[in-house]
Amino acid sequence: MIPEALILVPLLTGLACLLAKASPRAVRTLAMQGTLATLALAVLLWLVHMKWLAIDPLTARSLLELNLPWIPALGVSLHLAPNGLSVLMVLLTALLGVLSVAVSWRGITQRVGFFHFNLLLILAGILGVFQAMDLFAFYFFWEVMLVPMYFLIDVWGHENRHYAAIKFFLFTQVSGLLMLLAILALYFLHGRSSGAYTFDVARLVDTPLPSPVAFGLLLGFFAAFAVKLPAVPLHTWLADAHTEAPTAGSVILAGLMLKTGAYGMLQFLWLLFPLAALDFAPAARVLGVVGILYGAMLSFAQFDLKRLVAYTSVSHMGFVLLGIFTPNELAWQGAVMQMLCHGLGTGGLFILVGYLSDRLHTRDMRAMGGLWASCPRMGGAAMFLAMAALGLPGMGSFVGEILILIGVFHVSPVLAIVASGGLVLATVYALWMMQQVFHGREKVRAADLRRTELGVLAVLIVLLIYLGVYPKNVFDTFNSTIKHSRTFNSLMQQSQIEDP
């Protein structure tokens, strides 16, 4: 009941935005109401998942699950069954959805209806991705996100938007096709061995796969997820897409779309191909560490403020990749925390950059400097977000990073040590950004944040601090997934034995 509502509400609001011949203001209000309703549903989903499920499993499950036959002849069903991980991602999506509409309030003046249609369609797609437990439906939603995002970049983006939009589309489409091939292969292999052709994840899990085949299929999935994540060396679409997208587009790209890659890895790779994933994990961890350091270095080198922020994503998501491919409780909880905090923190930075470039009409940091004097509120907010970016304790990102590092240290101390170099490099780019933009000689002046603008950033900052000092709720929510995960439990037992 709730899962389909979560998809339908933004979808229908989006259609209404497109079709209603209303004033821009009315469209914005409508979109805001739609995203707020989605957020309320997401909170409800969380409450039902966390509280009701324990009291009255039967009713709660009927609220939490949808299983409609879609193309019965092919074994395709619209199966939505969010677990703890999904619930967290849904909450993040719904929250950033509201903020995306809020930050587009003044910035988007052309084709307002079509813009919000795209925005809400992306949200619906992402919410579908995070809840689908049928691979066909998963792929469907995966593709639904793509086209409206292409439009978002191509129509409302900055100078170089056509190039960025095409690049984004090609990278995700090509890698998506590899995943489609892997899904189909899995479908046929399962069908041939069991006689029942189905896309349902819960049943595909038991497909007997020879290990080279499993490894090949894993790579197919991994390609799609790694492009979205993004993992070095598949990251180069990111800087262009993030930089050229309008602010709301960047927020959704960094905050949510990157998470779909991480979510896919954590939810499906370990579930479908546990042994192959275990074989592949060392290589993936190395990719993660390379991403942490390489992304941080690229970030430091940029003159374009938005590009700088974009590259921090490569670094932060490197931590996520590292955590996901370290199968133990600490690393996984850390990876999920890092996903949430990256969504909040980097989303916040993109919003801030949006406010700034709206005022200054440039993103070149060489033209900025000393902005603290005229915009102390913006400077303060930026300082908080910069500290979140460099993983200052007290911020949620620290919890994520330290848990990942602790978890990785159990498996590979060397990688953990190299990865902790990322702590230093993150300091370098974060402080460099503050120095270039807000400190130093006053080169430009700008109007300080308005009350609503400050409110948007304050929500993110408060949440980051909350997660940094009291992350219990997130742990509990994801824990409900870990506890019920058969794969995880068997992996746990294995790693227990490996412990010194």
Binding site: K167, V232, P233, H235, T236, A239, M297, L298, F300, A301, Q302, F303, E329, L330, Q333, G370, W372, A373, P376, G380, M383, M387, L392, P393, G394, F398, V399, I402, L403, L405, I406, F409, H410, P413, A416, I417, S420, G421, L423, V424, T427, V428, L431, W432, Q435, F438, H439, G440, R441, E442, V469, Y470, P471, K472, F475, D476, P500
Partner: protein, 654 residues
């Protein structure tokens, strides 16, 4: 008992939240929140000390867990406080000194545009520092550790319009963060082995889990040491502290002299269980301390900026603390921490009064004869200077330094070489301290106080010129009571604080070592102990020799120095010392420049060239193919014929 312990760190943190959240408060309210929160915190800390010490029975640590920070099944660090004599000492000194410095700041910063921001950062600092010292587990300690680092960064770069200040702030954060990364890895290692980061359980388990001198114990201790040298500005990560003087002077007094920079000393003392199992690392600590104290003392001797002299002096004095830690005399290190907190913050505050009085002039050679014009500042500065120079028997600094010197001889882990280093350091300390005193306070007045102030000074400090929110008040020819009272109080403590621990031959008072003995082991003593009196006399003579030398060089025969500076080798040595032994140059060449070059060279991300090449080749192929599509039948027919011939040839030939 002490259920309200959490209030002590919470008060300054609440002050921070209030000052950040409520903008546009009038200055008295800002001062009330800023100073009041720290003052209340200090009062409660003193009350806690009284309660704790007056409790009947043996000293037991108090633990207060507020909530479980990371409630995971295999890892559950808490937000919890641990009060034992060591953290109590730190807590009391930190809040006490912080209160007086905050009070002083209301005067010092009175006409600064960033008044509220300043107190917000200062309150956040005190809160973070208290979290650091009271934390019951290493992860929470790390939170405080990074928190004070952040405040240090924010306050060094407080006057952000000058890019030099920003650079200094970034340097401080990044250099200490290198050490912090080492500390973080140390935490990973400790958790991996102990399954917890709780300090007490690690201390309890360590001797059973690790054999003394085992590789892992050494690695863990070395990693903790990495964090400590970063924060405490010891070799090889000392380079950030002199530049950190770009911050307002109260900041230098609080963060870069009295409290934060001694966090490394606290960390080593706190984790003594690990260091006791890694004696080679202890040796390294002692050597780092000895070398640092000498190098920094030499550099202090050649600086002309009053704050940089004091900064190098701080590095040098923390070197003494490291020396003591290295030889196993943890209590002596904490004793010196305490006396140093008093006399060095006093010296900085007095220097601040001088700088203000001289209208932001910091070059000591442009001062002179100030004792007449600023008698109170002179007297209090002199008290601090005497304590720093360790004037025998009457100053606190003497007792703590003498204890360290004695322990380097008496401890089994000490050696005469280390002692000699400390002794030479004592001469140098007295020399640079009284060079400062004689040049600044005596001799002819080289420069009259002027109304305008120097260019740099106004940019940095001047009233009105820096986005001041109220009109420029009259120049501070006289200094308000909020600034003088802290000077007097700290001067008293700089002299008498040594009374908590006296050498046995003077008077049997061992309050501090008895008290700290509950948590800190005593150094293993040699069989043949050196004579206490002899060591004292030598140490006293060293400090007197330094003072006399300073008098000869800078008062009696000032031309001697000028002549000396003309001599060739000495000139080069002078330059080397003045530049801090070339560490900055070395790091710039070895680390900073290569990294920046590499990053800049790869700004466009060479990996993207690959994808660009794919795109280009697709375009090329497209061009070639579309070139062939001419739409002319003759051309197609010709291609058909040529193709057929080629195919047939291939078929025939193979």
């Amino acid at each position: 008992m002490l259920d309200w312990l959490w209030v002590i760190p919470a008060l300054p943190l609440a002050g921070f939240v209030l000052l950040v959240g409520l903008r546009g408060l009038p200055r008295p309210v800002i001062a009330l929140i800023g100073v009041g929160s720290v003052g209340a915190s200090a009062a409660l800390a003193l009350l806690a000390a009284v309660r704790y010490l007056s409790a009947a029975g043996p000293v037991v640590p108090i633990r207060q867990v507020l909530w479980t920070w990371l409630p995971l099944t295999s890892f559950h660090p808490t937000i919890g406080l641990h009060l034992d004599p060591l953290s109590l000492l730190m807590m009391v000194v930190v809040t006490f000194v912080a209160f007086w410095i905050h009070l002083y700041s209301t005067g010092y910063m009175a006409c600064d545009g960033g008044y509220g921001r300043f107190f917000a950062y200062m309150n956040l600092f005190v809160g973070a520092m208290l979290v650091l010292v009271l934390a019951d587990n290493l992860l929470l300690l790390y939170l405080g550790w990074e928190g004070v680092g952040l405040c240090s960064y924010l306050l060094i770069g407080f006057w952000y319009t000058d890019p030099a200040n920003g650079r200094a702030a970034m340097k401080a954060f990044i250099v200490t963060r290198v050490g912090d990364a080492a500390l973080a890895v140390g935490l990973l290692l400790l958790y991996w082995h102990f399954g917890t980061l709780d300090i007490q359980s690690i201390a309890l388990q360590a001797p059973h889990v690790w054999v003394s001198g085992s590789g892992l114990a050494i690695a863990a201790a070395a990693l903790l040491l990495g964090g400590a040298v970063g924060k405490s500005a010891q070799l090889p990560l000392q380079t950030w502290l002199p530049d950190a003087m770009a911050g307002p002077t109260p900041v230098s007094a609080l963060i870069h002299a009295a409290t934060m920079v001694t966090a490394g000393v606290y960390l080593i003392a706190r984790m003594n269980a690990i260091f006791e199992l890694a004696l080679p690392v202890g040796q390294v600590v002692a050597v780092i301390g000895a070398v640092t104290l000498l190098l920094a003392a030499c550099s202090a001797l050649t600086q002309t900026d009053i704050k940089r002299i004091l900064a190098y002096s701080t590095i040098s004095q923390i070197g003494y603390m490291f020396l003591a830690l290295g030889v196993g005399a943890y209590s002596a290190a904490m004793f010196h921490f305490m006396t140093h907190a008093f006399f060095k913050s006093l010296l900085f505050l007095a220097a601040g009064a001088i700088i203000l009085g001289m209208h932001h002039e910091q070059n000591i050679f442009k001062m002179g004869g100030l004792w007449r014009r600023m008698p109170l500042t002179f007297v209090t500065f002199l008290a601090g200077a005497l304590s720093l120079a360790a004037l025998p028997f009457v100053t606190a600094g003497f007792y703590s330094k003498d204890l360290i010197l004695y322990e380097t001889l008496a401890s089994q882990r000490g050696s005469p070489v280390l002692w000699a280093c400390g002794l030479v350091g004592a001469v140098l300390t007295a020399l640079y301290t009284f060079r400062l005193v004689f040049v600044v306070f005596f001799g002819p007045a080289r420069r009259e106080p002027q109304r305008g102030g120097s260019a740099r000074g106004t940019a940095a400090l001047g009233c009105g010129s820096f986005q001041a929110q109220k009109p420029e008040p009259p120049a501070p020819t006289h200094i308000s009571w909020t600034m003088t009272l802290p000077l007097v109080v700290l001067a008293v403590f700089a002299i008498v604080a040594g009374a908590v621990e006296l050498p046995k031959n003077v008077y049997q008072v061992t309050l501090l070592s008895d008290w700290l003995g509950v948590v800190l082991p005593a150094a293993p003593q040699r069989e043949h102990l050196p004579s206490l009196a002899k060591v004292q006399i030598i140490a006293g003579a060293a400090s007197l020799a330094g003072i006399v030398a300073a008098w000869l060089l800078y008062r009696r025969f000032p031309s001697a120095v000028r002549v000396l500076r003309l001599v060739r080798p000495w000139r080069q040595v002078y330059r080397l010392w003045q530049g801090g032994w070339g560490f900055d140059w070395l790091y710039r060449r070895l680390v900073v420049e290569p990294f920046v070059y590499l990053a800049r060279a790869n700004r466009r991300d060479f990996i993207d060239l690959f994808y660009g090449a794919i795109g280009e080749s697709a375009k090329l192929l497209h061009a070639v193919l579309s070139w062939g599509q001419t739409g002319k039948v003759g051309w197609y027919a010709a291609c058909l014929v040529i193709g057929a011939i080629v195919l047939i040839t291939i078929l025939v030939l193979t």
